[in-house]
Amino acid sequence: MQYKWFVLPAIGVIVLVLGFMMFGGLGDNLIYYLTPTEAVDQHVDFPDGERFRLGGLVTEGTVETTSGGVTFIVTDGDRSITVVHTGAPPQLFRENIGVVVEGAWVGDRFESDTLIINHDEEYRSEEDGTYVPPTGTSG
């Protein structure tokens, strides 16, 4: 009896949480971010003001500091999108690094208010060769 009162609710909660993760509110987010190519292709699904996440690589030579934050071009090697970010970027923010920005389209630009670094799985010492940035399209 003691056991049933404990385990049945526990199993119920686990099933609910897993179900929520797979099919509920997080469903869209299992595609954690859209690549620039996907974002451009699905532009009609995300009208101005409809928030989504965009992930890609910060294009070299496009980073400009503005009064409210930073602008840069994010790319997946195929399509590129200009990102206008409001707020201070994380300390590792730089050219050729993977980023995920959260915000919405404003015309052809993407206005974001959240910027996180999508760091890759490479571990290289500083004295070692050239840094090959991730493409931003892999899982």
């Binding site: 992930g55 490479e122 290289r124």
Partner: protein
């Protein structure tokens, strides 16, 4: 095992951690992350040892169901406890690393983070389940079943970064072109070995403690029985009170 052996194993675990820590500090800064990359030497072995620990819990549970010997139940229980510890360590070091590198402690929609958190709570539930059942055999059987079923989460957590597009980075070591420099890999493997020794020490101590607990439980059960019996005395009919 004699007391000496237990102490020797503990000393080995402490020495292994000291060696692992020393090696980790000698690794050069990583090109992009700098010194932050060093958290990997705690984070990655913790996560792997958690997987191993939950695997042992599954095996212990299965072995108990087949053999019905108490030692397997104790091994399963001890390993789940150590696994919860390592999972917590992996989650915490991940958050500490994530804040400076990603710019966030936690992401609610990241498949790796969410699946690990769920795995953590399910095994905390496993430990709670054990405490909720007083009868040893019922406890062993039910937790064996949960221990086996709960293991499905381990491959899910491991492959979450391959199956889904996540903030968490993908696999580094277990892939053909392992994009990691040899000094990082070497330090990682040494720390993996050190964490494994610590796992062995935890397991040895925890299963011993579980055995002592079981023995105490049995002694108490016998003691309870004696007290219960001694409380009842037969009425003395021979010596009737004088005043009747």
């Amino acid at each position: 095992m004699r007391e000496r052996s237990y102490q020797a194993l503990s000393l080995m675990a402490i020495a292994a951690i000291a060696v692992g820590f020393t090696v980790a500090t000698t690794v050069p800064p990583e090109r992009v992350q700098g010194e932050f990359a060093k958290i990997m030497f705690v984070h990655v072995p913790s996560a792997w040892l958690a997987f191993l620990a939950f695997g042992v819990t599954m095996i212990g549970g299965a072995a108990w169901l087949i053999r019905k010997t108490p030692i397997w139940d104790r091994v399963a229980a001890a390993s789940a406890e150590v696994g919860v510890f390592y999972t917590a360590l992996a989650l915490m070091t991940g958050m500490i690393w994530g804040y400076p590198v990603w710019g966030t402690f936690w992401d609610w929609s990241d498949a790796r983070m969410m699946s690990t958190a769920i795995m953590f709570f399910v095994y905390v539930g496993y430990l709670a389940l054990r405490r909720s059942i007083p009868d040893p055999e019922t406890r062993a059987r039910r937790s064996a079943i949960l221990g086996i079923v709960a293991f499905v989460q381990v491959p899910l957590v491991y492959f979450s970064v391959t199956l889904f597009r996540t903030l968490h980075q993908g696999t580094t070591v277990v892939r053909p072109d392992a994009p990691i420099d040899p000094e990082f890999l070497r330090a990682l493997m040494i720390n993996l070995a050190a964490f494994t020794v610590v796992y062995a020490a935890f397991m040895t101590w925890r299963t011993r403690l579980a055995r002592l607990e079981d023995e105490l439980e049995e002694t108490e059960a016998v003691a309870d029985f004696e007290i219960a019996g001694s409380g009842i005395t037969a009425p003395n009919l021979e010596e009737a009170p004088d005043h009747v």
